[in-house]
Each structure stands twice: as C-alpha cells, then as structure tokens.
C-alpha cells in the first residue's frame, strides 16, 4: 500500500474539503462535479479511476469537460508544488552570479546595484523629454555587451506602444557602444583578458546588435496583451533574449479605458504575466510609465507616476527620471534590496552617460 494512504484525518479533511474549489474550472463544470458529490482531486482519482469516461458518466459532464477536469486535477501531481521551491542559499548564489544589464551611466548602475537585474520588473517613469525612450534604447543595445566585458551577451525584445523607437538612434547608440568596447580592449593591460576581449569583438558590429533587437509595435491595448501572452513562447524560440522593454505601459491604458475597475484588473493581470515571464525565463523586464498631475488638498499639485496607486505595486524597482537644476536625475524610489538613492545622468549622441565633472578651468 502506498504511504500516502496513511494520513492525518484532520489534514485530510482540510485537504479534501478545498481541493475541487481550488482547481481552475469553469463554473458550470464545477457545479456539475459538486452535484455529483465530487469534492477533491482524490475523489477523481479514487472514484473515477483517473478515467475521463468514468468521470463523465458519474458527473454528467461531456467527455471533453471531464478530460479537462482530470487534466486540471493532475496538474503538477502530488508534492510537485513543494518541489518548485528553492532555498534562500541558492537564490543568494544566483543573485551573486546574475549578470546585469548596464545603462552605461556608472552612477546610475551603482544605485541600481550594478545594473538592471533579471527576474524582476524595473520601471522608469518621468515627464516627456526626460529620456525614458533613450534609456530603453540604451539598455536594449547594452544587453548585447559580450560576456568578456561583463555583459549579458544577449538579445532584446522591444515592445513599442507609442511608436517612439527610432532605428537610426539605436544605430548611433550601438556604434558608440562598439567604439567604447574597442577602446576598452585597447586599454586592457592583462594580455590574457585582452585576447579574450579581442575574440569577443570579432564580428561585433552595430548591425549585429540591431539584428538582436526584436521590435513589436502595438497600436492598441489588445495588441499589447496579445504580444505579452505569446512573449513566453517567443523567448523560448529565441533563448538569447535577456531583456524585455515595454515602452510604454501607460500609453494605451491612459486613453482606451472608461471603466477604471476593468483597467486595474487588466493591469494587474498583465503584471502577473510579465512577472512570470521575468522569473521563468530569467530575463530583465523594463517598463516605462508616464507621469500625471495629482491635486493635493493643501499646497500645489504634484507630479506622480501615472496608472494610479494599485499599479505602483506592480514593479519590483521603480526609478523616477526628472530634472534638477538643468541636470537629469534618476531617483530609485522603490526596491526590495536597494536603499533610496539618486544618480545624475546625461544623454549624449552615443546614448546614456555619466555627467562629466567640469574641469576647474571651465568654471
């Protein structure tokens, strides 16, 4: 007899009384099963003998429905959910080894803990013109940095909802990156590393970088949701994808919706979807959000990230881009592992860069 038949009656009751309700079934199927007296997956297995035809006969479901119900009941099998766990020690090891996508602005990479992390959602928000799309273009390009230079050596997916992706601009940024890496290689003193870098730069051109950026253009919210729904499969087919950019999430959600409750629901569903792509495929997800004016009860109105309070919980790390004394500033406002911090950045012809300290003679 299998050991699972010796169970604590207390927990068995508990298990049995909830299992059927916890299966993802259509309400009509569920109620038919309940009327027929089935309460748990164990009942399926014991009474229906795991056979769809028996289950269909006993419960009055069609054979197809019975098949689906059995499939749902068998999903994962006994103890499978528990095996999905990873110990914190493994997670720590992963966090240490995980390559990060750099923004090419050292100050910003520092406050982000070395760059944009995979397995999480990083959101950039800010006013128009502050450099959100530039930031996205930059990270898409730098995702291709070879491993010899400490990069992720991967491809990127760019989901464009606003039509703001400019291939020429991406070309500039990519050429600047190639140039920069060449210079790095030339300055390297360690001969072994230099050979390694040289080999990595073989055939590494701006055209190659651009061919590794997969662009999806979404004209409306339905298209956006459809892309996200199939993105998991796309990444499975293109295993080198290390970064997914959505520029921007806010655009369609801010104009296509009358019903705010529906918007919240769709947004949270979308977030769960993105999160599951980020963790299951171990890719970095970057989202872009706009800002909106929020009236205050006392004092002047403030600029706050758009899409409301409930969406604020959606991202793992939130970076607000803004202007401060004619300088661009990135401010990490939310992160589970990093303290709140600011970094200055600038946008050059070659992409996002550090703010150069002015030499004394310039002042």
């Amino acid at each position: 007899m299998d050991p699972s038949s010796h169970r604590n009656p207390e927990t068995e009751w508990f298990q049995d009384s909830h299992a059927l309700v916890s299966l993802p079934l259509a309400p009509s199927v569920r109620s038919k099963l309940q009327i027929a007296g089935f309460r748990s997956t164990r009942d399926f297995i014991r009474i229906a003998k795991n056979s769809a035809s028996v289950l269909a006969r006993e419960s009055g479901l069609t054979l197809e429905e019975a098949n689906d119900a059995l499939k749902a009941a068998r999903h994962g099998g006994e103890g499978a959910a528990l095996k999905g766990a990873r110990s914190a020690a493994e997670v720590l090891e992963d966090e240490r080894r995980r390559p990060r996508t750099v923004t090419c602005c050292e100050a910003l990479d520092d406050v982000l803990g070395g760059g944009i992390g995979s397995g999480e959602i990083t959101e950039f928000c800010g006013c128009p013109g502050v450099g959100k799309t530039q930031m996205c273009t930059q990270v898409c390009v730098s995702a291709s940095t070879p491993e010899a230079f400490g990069g992720t050596d991967g491809e990127a997916v760019y989901v464009d909802t606003e039509g703001s992706f400019m291939a020429e601009r991406a070309m500039d940024v990519a050429s600047a990156l190639v140039e920069h890496l060449r210079r790095m290689e030339a300055c390297e003193s360690d001969s072994e590393r230099r050979t390694e870098m040289k080999a990595a730069l073989e055939g590494y051109t701006a055209e190659k970088i651009l061919s590794g950026i997969h662009l999806f253009r979404c004209h409306e919210v339905t298209e956006l949701l459809a892309v996200l729904e199939t993105l998991g499969e796309f990444i499975a087919e293109h295993p080198r994808v290390r970064l997914v950019v959505i520029d921007s999430v806010a655009f369609h959600f801010r104009q296509d919706f009358q019903d705010m409750a529906l918007r919240t629901t769709i947004l949270s569903k979308m977030t769960n979807r993105l999160m599951s792509i980020a963790t299951s495929r171990d890719v970095a997800v970057v989202t872009v959000n706009q800002v909106t004016v929020k009236p205050q009860q006392d004092g002047p109105a403030r600029l706050v990230p758009a899409l409301g309070e409930s969406y604020a919980h959606a991202c793992t790390t939130r970076v607000i881009l803004s202007w401060e004394n004619d300088e661009r500033v990135a401010f990490v406002t939310k992160s589970p592992r990093l303290p709140q911090a600011k970094a200055k950045y600038t946008i050059t012809a070659g992409g996002i860069r550090d703010v150069r300290r002015r030499r004394p003679r310039d002042e």
Partner: protein, 363 residues
Amino acid sequence: MGADATVTASTARDDGVVDVSANRAIADGTADDARGRTRVEIERALRWGVDMGDFLCGCEKETGKGGWDKGCWGGGRGDGGGARRRALREACVAETLANAVNGTSIERGLSMLEILPTGCDAIDGLLGGGLRQGEVIEIVGPSASGKTQVCLSAAASFAALGHRVVYVDTGGGFSATRIKQFHRGFLTEDADEGEVARNLRQTLDLIAVHRCHDVFSLLHLLSQLAEEASEDDNNPDRATMGLLVIDSLSSLLSPLLTKAHHQGYTIMATVAATLRGLATTRKTAALYTNHTVSAGQDALADDHGSNLKPALGARWTSVPHRRIRFAKIPGTVWFSASVAYGVTTKPARYRIGSNNIHGETER
C-alpha cells in the same frame, strides 16, 4: 461511554463499507477507497436535498425528491437501501466524532504555541512580542512603505531561530542578499566571522522560496503544504514550518475581484479558508501583504494626507487575526505602523537601515 460509541460506530462502519459499495470496495481492495466512496455518496445524498438532521437521526421519512434513493441506491426502497443508509449514517457519525476536540486539549495546544520576533523591535512591540504561531497577520500599506522589508526581516528572524520558512514571492521582491544583511544585523558587531558564516548557511537553507504568479498555483501550493504536515509530524529531524510569508497576496487575488469574474469571490473565500486552516493545523504564523488602492476623490484622507484603502477590502477584513497598517511619514525617513484590526496598541515608528529595521517608540 464515548469510547464505546466510537467502537460501535467504527465496527458498524467497517461492516457498512462492504455493504455500501460492496462491488467497488472489494474490487479496489482498499478501505481507503471505500471511505472516499462513502463520502462521495453522503455528499451526493445531501445535494439531492436530504436534510442533514434527518439523515443523522435516521428518520425514514419521504424526502420528496425520489432522485436520492433512485439515483444513488440503485434499486427500489427495499431492505438493502435501508441498511445502506444506516451504514452511511454511521460512517458519517464516526467521522464527525473523530474530529471532536475538547477544551482542555485546545488550551494545552494554545499554551504550546510560541511568539517569535520579526526582527524589528518597533513592529514586535506593536504586535505584543512578535508573530504568534497559528495566527494570520496582514500587512497593508502603499508601495515603498516597507512591507516586503518586514517580510524579509521576519523570514530571516524565524530561520535564524531554527524554524522553517516558506516564502511565496509573487513580485520578484525576495532578496537573499537582504536576508544576509538582516541576519548580520541580528548578531553583534564583534561576532566571530566563521561562526556568522556557518549560522548564515543554516538560516538560508531553512528558507524555501516559491514563485507564484496566479492564484491557482498558490492554492495548489497551500494544499500541498497542508498535506505535507502529516508527513512532517512523524519526522523529528525536520524543523517544523514556523512561518509562511505571501508577498503579495493581493496581487494574485485582485485580478479576480471584478464583476466580470463571477468566481472571484468564491476563490477568494477558498484562499481565506485555506490560509486560516493551514495556520491552525500546522501551527504556523502566516504573514501576508496587501497593497493599497485609491479610495476615490471623495474619501476622507487619513493622518498622512493620503486617501488609500486596502486592495482586499471589506469582504476580507475578517480573514486576518490582525491587520497592521504601514505608511510613510511625509518629509521624513520614518514610517509609521499601527494596528488597523485586532488587539490595538500604541502606533510605532520605524525606519529601514542597511542591515535592520529599527524603531523609536516614543515620539
């Protein structure tokens, strides 16, 4: 007398089982299957409209819905049907009696429960010492108010004390690096490094991280955790599950809670029952987070000038034993924590440091 009754009932059941579903039970060869069958039949009988009281008292009156007899008993209302019904009734009584507990044992059970610290003095003070085993505690607060930080700190604290922690991560918020920092913060500055590293290893190994992105996989996990309990009870080598953390529960449930999704509230109720059942049967402290949503323009602002309400709202209020509310105090680095539901105590203030969360109880 009670003992006698039980013996009689179980004997009767054993006989009854063979009688009830003779063919199947014999064919299956296991009493367990027969018991499952008995339960399904009881369930089915009740669905056909047989009054539970009549059923248990054994009144042989006409139910008015002949379907029960005809549908379930196969033949007419002969002697066979009566005997079967008696056997079922006794099986039902026996199961119910087996689950009865008296006050003394409940009290003994309660006195054995421990209160364990969250690793944050201010929150512990608010909760009267920490998290009690068997209790469900909710943290509600806006984004970036320290919810995940307190979850991580509590996980580190429980694991450092030798309890197993199950951490369900829905938003990529789990950071092992942060656990390591909190762990270092629990120990004194001058602790031996080797000792710290050994202890850290044990702590990290005790934390199991699960990533869940939809409510059905959460329910699946919870039911398997409950099932695992019985196996653990017989294994003294394994540390008991001291803490279950779900960060965040509301992000899994909120996509379901709309008018369009008519199963939403059923599933929410299932999660509530499963969570409380798990906390009680496994003597586990369950800590979960709930995010906030805007309460609308007309709602009254709270002390900190924000008009937010919990995402899992009025229908959920009765689920946690205690609900604590976090908020950022504007213009400072401090956060405030207060009990929103449960035994009320004085509100506390806390701030998040590099390796701890520390409080300052008086203002």
